[in-house]
C-alpha cells in the first residue's frame, strides 16, 4: 500500500508537493570489472521478482547496444493484481572490462501497480527518486538485497498539461493504433528531456494503459525490439516514423482520439486529471483503444460529481438519448462533424454506463428516430472511422445488444442496399439467431463468412434456411455450409435435420429460380446428407409417400401389369407432369427427363379431348373432301365441344378391334401351351433331353461337310 505524505502545513515551510511512498524491487545488470565475461544479472532484491523474473524482463526490454547513455526505458511486467510498472536506467559505470571496454550498468526498478491506487506518479518523478538510489547487496548473497522505499511526488496534471504540444498529442493518438512509433531527430534532447516527453505522451492516455506501455529514450534500429515508443536515429522498416518537431501523421485508428485532444486543448489540465484517474488495467487491444476514446469522450459531458445520481439519471433518461440521437441527425445533416463527435461521445458514455442494455419500448422510439434521421445511411462527408463510430453507437443503442430478426428487418427497410461496412458493424452486435447470422454472413462473404457460420450447428443451418420469409443469401449460405459439413462428417445429423424440414425443397425452389439448378442443388444436398449411393431405406426417408390402402393396391396392380419398367412409367406419368404443373419450363423438364433416363413422355389422360387426328378427321373434315351428309343430331352445337371418345361409332370400332385382338391372343397362347405340353409328355423337352435348345445341338443333328470328308465317310 502507498503512504501518501501530505504537504507540509507548518507556517513558513516551503510548499512541497504531496508525495507517495513506494516499495520498489530492483536488479542490477553489468559485468564484473576487469573480467572477460559478458553482461549478466549481478544482483537483485528479495521479493516477488526473482533473478529469473528480472532475466525475463531483461530479455523483453532489448533496446540494442547504446550509442549514448544514460538511457531510460519504461515498461511493465506481470498481469492483473501482479502488474508492475518498470523503470530501467542504463548508465556507463566508471569501470572497464578486461579488454578496456566501458561497462554499462543497468538498473531495473519495479513498482507494484496496486501501490498507485490512491496516488499516481509520473515517470519523471520515479526517475528522480530512483536514479540516485543506493542499491546495496551482499556479494555473498547477491539475490537478497533490500527492496527500496522511496518517496515520489504525486503526478501533477497541470505541470504535464503545460508541456503538451501537438507532437505529444499526435504521438499519444498514434499509440492508439497498431503502430510502433519511432521518433527521429531528437538527438539534441537530453535523455531527461526525452523522458519528460514520454511522460507527457503517457499522460494523454488513460493511466491504466501504462500497464502495457513500453517506451525508451533510445533504441537501436538494428535490434529486434518491441519497444512501443522510442527515440532512435534509424527507424526499423515496419515502424511509424515521427520527426521531432514536425507534424505527426496520425493513423486512421488514432484520428478520433487526436481530434478529441485537439478539441479539448483549452482544458488539458482537466483532461489529464480525468485520464490519470482511470486506473483500470488496459492494454492496447482494439477494445482497450475504443475504451480509451470513450473515456476521453466523457470529458465535458460527464457530471462533475459522479456521485450525483440524480444528475446521472437525467443524463441517461430515454428523452436525453432521443435528444442526442436527433442532435446527431442534425449535425449529420449540417455537416458539423465536431459537434457530431461530441454527441457521439455522450452516447458512447451512455452505452458504457448502461452496459448496452436498453428496454424494447425505448429502443422502438430510438429506431424511429434513426430511421427518420437516416442515421444509418450516413453522409458522404463522413470519413470511414467516424461513419463506423456513428453506426456502432446507433446500432448499440437502437438495435443492440442482441440483433434480432425484427431489428434486422427494420434496418433493411431503411436502406435500398445494405453497405458492407454496415453489415460489418452489425456483426459486432450479438447475433445468436442463426437466420440473422446467415443473413449477414451471406452478404459479407469473404473471410468473415467462416467466422460467422462456424458456431452454427447443422440443425441451426437447416432451420434458418427453412424459415420464412425465405432469403436467398440465407438459403445459399446455409446450403454451402451444409454441403461441406455433410460431406465431411457423414454422421446422419444432416439427414435427420433435412427430414424434419422437407429437405428444404421449398427454400431451394425459392433460392434457385432455374429448374435445372434447383434439381442439381437438391441432389447435391442429398449426396451430402445420404452419400452418393443412398440405399432403399434412405430413399424412403427422402420420399416418404404415404399411400392410402386402396392407392397402394392400385399402384401394386398397375406396377405388376406394367412390368419392370413401371418405375419409369411412374416418373414419366406422375413426377414430370407435376413438375410441369409447378411451372417448370418444358426445357427444364426435358433435361430432368434425360437425367432420369426416361426415353419418352407418357401421354397424360385428361378430360381434354385427345388429339387423335383420324378420329377428328372423320367427324369434322378439314379438307375439301366430299362432304358426307351428317344427320342434324350429330352436328356440333355452338359453344359445346364434341367429345370424340364418346362417338358411338368409334367406340364400336374399338370394341371390335379389341375383341379381335383378344381372340387372336388367346388362340396363340393356346397353341403355344399345347405344343409345350406335348413336348414335355414325349420326354424330349424342347431339345429332347430336357435342356434348352442351343445352336450347337441343332448343328450336331448332321455332320458338317468338312467333317465327313476328313473322316472318310460315304459321299453322296
Amino acid at each position: 500500500m502507498s503512504d501518501p505524505t501530505p504537504e507540509s502545513s507548518e507556517p513558513g515551510a516551503v510548499a512541497r508537493p504531496a508525495r507517495v511512498r513506494l516499495h520498489v524491487e530492483w536488479a542490477v545488470e553489468g559485468k564484473v570489472p576487469g573480467s572477460s565475461g559478458g553482461y549478466g544479472l549481478l544482483a537483485c532484491s528479495r521479493g516477488g521478482l526473482t533473478r529469473k523474473s528480472f532475466t525475463d524482463i531483461r530479455n523483453r526490454y532489448v533496446t540494442g547496444t547504446p550509442k549514448e547513455l544514460p538511457q531510460i526505458t519504461i515498461g511493465w511486467a506481470g498481469g492483473r493484481e501482479h502488474t508492475r510498472l518498470l523503470l530501467i536506467i542504463r548508465r556507463w559505470s566508471d569501470q572497464t572490462d578486461q579488454f578496456g571496454r566501458k561497462i554499462a550498468a543497468t538498473h531495473y526498478f519495479s513498482v507494484p501497480y496496486g501501490q498507485l491506487e490512491e496516488q499516481r506518479v509520473s515517470y519523471e518523478g520515479l526517475y528522480h527518486a530512483l536514479d540516485d538510489a543506493d542499491l546495496v547487496f551482499d556479494e555473498a548473497a547477491p539475490e537478497r538485497g533490500d527492496p527500496l522505499k522511496i518517496d515520489v511526488p504525486v503526478l501533477d496534471p497541470a505541470d504535464l498539461a503545460g508541456r503538451v504540444d501537438d507532437v505529444a498529442a499526435g504521438v499519444a493518438a498514434t499509440l492508439l493504433s497498431e503502430a510502433q512509433v519511432c521518433l527521429v531527430g531528437g538527438e539534441s534532447l537530453t535523455p531527461l528531456e526525452r523522458l519528460r516527453f514520454l511522460d507527457v505522451v503517457a499522460a494523454l492516455l488513460p493511466y491504466g494503459m501504462r500497464s502495457r506501455l513500453s517506451a525508451s529514450t533510445w533504441t537501436s534500429g538494428t535490434a529486434d525490439h518491441d519497444i512501443r515508443l522510442s527515440f532512435t536515429s534509424t527507424v526499423p522498416a515496419a515502424a511509424h516514423q515521427v520527426a521531432w518537431g514536425s507534424e505527426v501523421a496520425v493513423p486512421q485508428d488514432g484520428q478520433a482520439y487526436y481530434e478529441k485532444l485537439v478539441e479539448y486543448r483549452d482544458h488539458l489540465p482537466e483532461v489529464v486529471t480525468l485520464l490519470a484517474a482511470d486506473l483500470e488495467l488496459r492494454g492496447f487491444t482494439p477494445e482497450a483503444r475504443r475504451a480509451a476514446l470513450v473515456r476521453l469522450s466523457r470529458f465535458g459531458v460527464t457530471p462533475q460529481d459522479p456521485a450525483d445520481e440524480g444528475q446521472v439519471a437525467v443524463f441517461h433518461a430515454p428523452a436525453a438519448i432521443e435528444g442526442a440521437l436527433r442532435v446527431c441527425g442534425d449535425h449529420l445533416e449540417s455537416g458539423d462533424l465536431t459537434w457530431l463527435t461530441r454527441s457521439m461521445g455522450y452516447l458512447e458514455m451512455v452505452i458504457a454506463d448502461r452496459e448496452g442494455e436498453f428496454g424494447p419500448e425505448e429502443q422502438a422510439a430510438y429506431r424511429e428516430i434513426v430511421q427518420a434521421r437516416r442515421l444509418l445511411a450516413g453522409s458522404a462527408e463522413l470519413h470511414g472511422d467516424l461513419r463506423d463510430s456513428l453506426r456502432g453507437v446507433v446500432l448499440r443503442i437502437a438495435y443492440g445488444p442482441v440483433l434480432t430478426r425484427e431489428g434486422l428487418a427494420h434496418i433493411a427497410a431503411q436502406l435500398e442496399k445494405m453497405p458492407i461496412d454496415l453489415l460489418s458493424a452489425l456483426t459486432r452486435l450479438e447475433t445468436p439467431d442463426p437466420y440473422v447470422r446467415l443473413y449477414l454472413a451471406g452478404r459479407l462473404g469473404g473471410p468473415r463468412l467462416p467466422e460467422l457460420v462456424r458456431r452454427l450447428g447443422v440443425d441451426d443451418l437447416v432451420r434458418a434456411a427453412a424459415e420464412k420469409p425465405y432469403d436467398r443469401y440465407v438459403v445459399e449460405t446455409a446450403l454451402d455450409e451444409l454441403d461441406q459439413r455433410g460431406r465431411r462428417d457423414q454422421d446422419g445429423n444432416l439427414a435427420a435435420a433435412l427430414q424434419e424440414h422437407g429437405h428444404l425443397t421449398e427454400a431451394i425452389a425459392f433460392a434457385y429460380p432455374r429448374g435445372e439448378r434447383r434439381v442439381r442443388r437438391l441432389r447435391e444436398l442429398l449426396v451430402a446428407a445420404y452419400g452418393p449411393r443412398p440405399d432403399r431405406m434412405a430413399f424412403a426417408k427422402i420420399v416418404p409417400l404415404s399411400l392410402q390402402p386402396e392407392e397402394a393396391l392400385l399402384l401394386a396392380a398397375a406396377a405388376g401389369l406394367f412390368g419392370p419398367d413401371w418405375g419409369e412409367a411412374f416418373l414419366s406419368a406422375s413426377v414430370l407432369p407435376a413438375l410441369r404443373d409447378a411451372r417448370y419450363s418444358g426445357k427444364d423438364v426435358d433435361r430432368i427427363r434425360r437425367d432420369l433416363r426416361i426415353d419418352r413422355d407418357v401421354p397424360v389422360a385428361t378430360d381434354e379431348p385427345a388429339e387423335v387426328p383420324h378420329l377428328r378427321d372423320r367427324s369434322v373434315p378439314s379438307s375439301p373432301s366430299p362432304r358426307r351428309e351428317v344427320p342434324l343430331n350429330e352436328l356440333p352445337v355452338a359453344g359445346t365441344r364434341r367429345r370424340s371418345s364418346k362417338n358411338p361409332r368409334s367406340l364400336e370400332l374399338w370394341f371390335w378391334v379389341l375383341i379381335l385382338f383378344g381372340v387372336l391372343t388367346m388362340v396363340a397362347t393356346l397353341l403355344v401351351f399345347f405344343r409345350t405340353l406335348s413336348d414335355t409328355a414325349s420326354g424330349m423337352g424342347p431339345n429332347g433331353d430336357g435342356r434348352e435348345p442351343v445352336a450347337t445341338d441343332i448343328v450336331t443333328t448332321g455332320p458338317a461337310i468338312g467333317e465327313v470328308r476328313s473322316a472318310g465317310g460315304p459321299e453322296r
Binding site: Y39, R58, V62, T65, F99, G100, I103, T222, S233
Partner: protein
C-alpha cells in the same frame, strides 16, 4: 574475384565467439579491410540502419578506438558489391550483343550477438539459436590470448553448439549428421606478440611479396596447424575440445581456418615497413597499466596507430562465395 553474380541472394552470417573475442571489432574492420584490399569488393549498408552501423563501427576504428561491447543481439543487412565487368563482345555472337554488365551484389544478413548469449542460460539465448538456425554461414572467433588467460572458449561454444545441433540434427529430413553451416574459424589477435611468436616457432610465417608493408602472414593452409598449437596453451586445457567439437559437428569440407587481426600491426609514423621490434598496435592508456589491470576499474586500452586489418574480409568473402555457389548448385538441380 571470380564467379561474379548478378543475383541478389540473401545469406545470413552469424558471428560466434566468447565475450571479447573480437566479433564487433572484426565487423568494424571489415569495411576498411575491403577498401585497403586489392579487389572489386566493397561493403555497403543495404538500408539506412545498416549504413549507420557500418559508419559508426568503421569510424570508431578509424579514430583508433575499439567499438563498444555489444549488449543486445544486433542484426543488419550489408551488401558485398563487386565491380561491373567490362563489356565483353567476344562471346556475344555476330551481333556483338554484350553480356550483362551489372555489378555483382551479395546480400549479407549479419548477426552480431554479445558473447554472453552463447552461455547456455543467457537471456537472449533462444533468440540466438533461432538466428543461428536461420543462418548458413558462421564466423567463429577464437581468441588465443583470452584462451590463455581464461580458457573459456569451449564454454561459449559447447552449450550453444549442442542446442543448435539438437534443434537441427533431430529433424527427420536431416540425414548428414552434421550441421549444414559453412564455418570460417578465425584465430584472432594475430597482432599480439604471443600469437606471432607461436607462429614464428611453428615456422608458418610467410610474407606476401606484393605487400608494401611486408607484414608477416600465415597462409590459410597453415592456419589449422597454428590453431592446434594455440589450443595447447589454454588456461583450462579445454581448447582442444573446441577443435574437436568443430570437426565433429560441422562438415570438414565446409570448415576453413584463417589467421586474422582486426587492428593489424603497428607502423611507426614515417615508416612504411613492418618493424619486428615494434609492431604491437594495442596499448594500455594508463601509464600505471600494470596496476590497473587488477584494479576494480580495469584497464584502458586503445589502438596505437592506424588500424590495418589482416585477413578480415577473406572469411566473409569465402563464406559469401560458398553460400552463393551452393544456392546456384541447388537451383541448377545438381
Amino acid at each position: 574475384m571470380s564467379n561474379p553474380t548478378f543475383e541478389r541472394p540473401e545469406h545470413s552470417i552469424a558471428m560466434w565467439g566468447a565475450p571479447g573475442s573480437g566479433k564487433t571489432t572484426m565487423l568494424a574492420a571489415l569495411s576498411l579491410a575491403l577498401i585497403e584490399r586489392d579487389g572489386p569488393w566493397k561493403l555497403v549498408g543495404a538500408d539506412a540502419n545498416a549504413t549507420s552501423v557500418l559508419l559508426e563501427k568503421s569510424a570508431a576504428l578509424d579514430r583508433q578506438e575499439f567499438p563498444l561491447a555489444t549488449i543486445d543481439i544486433e542484426k543488419f543487412r550489408w551488401l558485398l558489391v563487386g565491380s561491373s565487368p567490362q563489356q565483353d563482345r567476344r562471346f556475344g555472337g555476330w551481333r556483338g550483343r554484350s553480356r550483362d554488365t551489372r555489378a555483382p551484389k551479395i546480400g549479407l544478413n549479419m548477426i552480431d550477438p554479445p558473447g554472453q548469449v552463447y552461455a547456455g542460460g543467457a537471456a537472449q539465448h533462444a533468440s540466438l539459436l533461432q538466428s543461428l538456425e536461420e543462418s548458413r554461414g558462421i564466423i567463429y572467433l577464437f581468441d588465443p590470448t583470452q584462451e590463455y588467460i581464461a580458457g573459456d572458449a569451449f564454454d561459449y561454444l559447447h552449450g550453444a553448439l549442442l542446442q543448435l545441433a539438437s534443434q537441427m540434427l533431430a529433424k527427420e529430413n536431416e540425414t548428414s549428421g552434421r550441421l549444414p553451416h559453412y564455418l570460417a574459424v578465425c584465430i584472432t589477435k594475430f597482432d599480439d606478440l604471443r600469437v606471432l611468436k607461436t607462429a614464428t616457432k611453428l615456422n608458418v610465417l610467410t610474407q606476401d611479396p606484393s605487400d608494401p608493408h611486408e607484414f608477416p602472414t600465415v597462409e590459410d593452409a597453415d592456419a589449422p596447424t597454428l590453431f592446434r598449437e594455440l589450443c595447447e596453451i589454454s588456461a583450462r586445457g579445454s581448447a582442444r575440445r573446441v577443435l574437436n567439437a568443430l570437426e565433429r559437428f560441422f562438415h570438414k569440407d565446409r570448415l576453413k581456418f584463417f589467421v586474422t587481426s582486426s587492428i593489424g600491426f603497428y607502423l611507426k609514423p614515417g615508416t612504411a615497413v613492418f618493424d619486428p621490434r615494434d609492431f604491437q598496435n594495442m596499448v594500455r592508456l594508463s601509464p600505471e597499466a600494470g596496476r590497473d589491470q587488477d584494479s576494480e576499474k580495469g584497464a584502458q586500452y586503445r589502438i596505437r596507430g592506424q588500424a590495418r586489418p589482416i585477413n578480415v574480409c577473406e572469411p566473409v568473402i569465402w563464406l559469401a562465395e560458398r553460400l552463393l555457389a551452393e544456392r546456384q548448385e541447388a537451383r541448377s538441380g545438381r
